[in-house]
């Protein structure tokens, strides 16, 4: 039996790291955020994988999609403004790994 949607691996508040990967083709994970650490803000649902849809495949099973919150000063080392400023980005589950650094 085909699985329609993959199970969500992360919950809001979980600390994650974006995979540092550079595959060719249609990718929705912006270059600037790869490898960075953030926190799951919410689970948005599960959606067909756009990396597959872009090549006329069905994109199934659907990938859980999260909004992940990153601190600007973690993303840009020279970010001098408010230390709480964030960039929140939608990232599909297959681009996320648990943050292995432990709770800071």
């Amino acid at each position: 039996m085909t699985v329609d949607a993959l199970q969500a691996r992360f919950r809001p508040g979980d600390r994650v790291q974006v995979r540092r990967a550079y595959p060719l083709g249609h990718v929705r994970t912006p270059w600037y955020i790869r490898g960075h650490h953030g926190v799951i803000e919410r689970l948005c649902g599960a959606y067909p994988n756009p990396e597959e849809l872009a090549y006329a495949r069905d994109g199934l099973p659907r990938q859980p999609l999260y909004r992940v919150r990153f601190l600007q000063r973690d993303v840009w080392p020279d970010y001098a403004a408010n230390a709480h400023d964030t960039v929140d980005i939608e990232i599909y589950q297959h681009w996320l790994e648990p943050d292995e650094r432990g709770v800071p």
Binding site: R28, V87, D88
Partner: protein, 208 residues
């Protein structure tokens, strides 16, 4: 006309000989869809007309209701699409995430990858929203970009940039301007401008 009329004519008054790859592709796909009977030219025209007719006055209805009705505002954050329908707007094909500006937090929307935008609520995105300048800089130096739009936020306000990279579409719920106590929703909606719902401006003040 003379019988010696053999010079080449200008056949593309809009400069079609300079079509980009994707412009040519759009025309080719559109003509194929019509030729194969999947869509009619009239249906395509109607969709273009509908899209061109949309503007930020739609999103402003949602904002104005949220300003006057706290229970509705809570529903906006729970399920933006259903909340849009509640005020007579389209549900939308994408999931709507509404983010709230407060005295402590200011939100601003971008799509760094392309130009994702809640078109069914705001109309077509402005040219600057699609520019590489805005897309690359607002995630990198949001306060500088906001300053260039004439918006200087106090340092203690947290700035949240939302990069619309996938299946969500975002709308900022701006703060209700002071001096609007007792205003009707219709009147309040005139203060909720397009740019305030993208987050590069505050809602207009009465009399501004």
């Amino acid at each position: 006309m003379s019988d010696q009329h053999d010079h080449p004519h200008e056949t593309s008054p809009d400069g079609a000989e300079h079509l980009t790859y994707h412009q040519a592709m759009e025309i080719a796909v559109r003509e194929l869809l019509v030729e194969k009977g999947l869509l009619s030219a009239g249906e395509i025209r109607r969709q273009v007309e509908d899209m061109d007719g949309r503007n930020a006055g739609l999103g402003a209805k949602l904002v104005a209701r949220a300003w006057v009705d706290p229970a509705y505002k809570a529903r906006v954050f729970e399920n933006g699409n259903a909340a849009a329908e509640e005020v007579g707007l389209d549900h939308g094909a994408y999931k709507l995430v509404v983010v709230e500006n407060t005295p402590q937090v200011h939100n601003v929307i971008v799509c760094t990858l392309c130009s994702c935008y809640p078109r069914w609520l705001l109309g077509l995105p402005p040219d600057w929203y699609k520019s590489r300048n805005y897309r690359s800089r607002v995630v990198r130096e949001p306060r500088t970009v906001l300053h260039e739009f004439g918006l200087d936020l106090p340092e203690h306000v947290t700035v949240r940039v939302h990069d619309s990279t996938a299946d969500m579409r975002y709308l900022v719920l701006p703060m209700r301007p002071a001096g609007t106590e007792g205003w009707s929703e219709e009147r309040l909606a005139t203060l909720a401008t397009r740019d305030s719902m993208i987050g590069v401006a505050l809602a207009d003040s009465p009399g501004s």
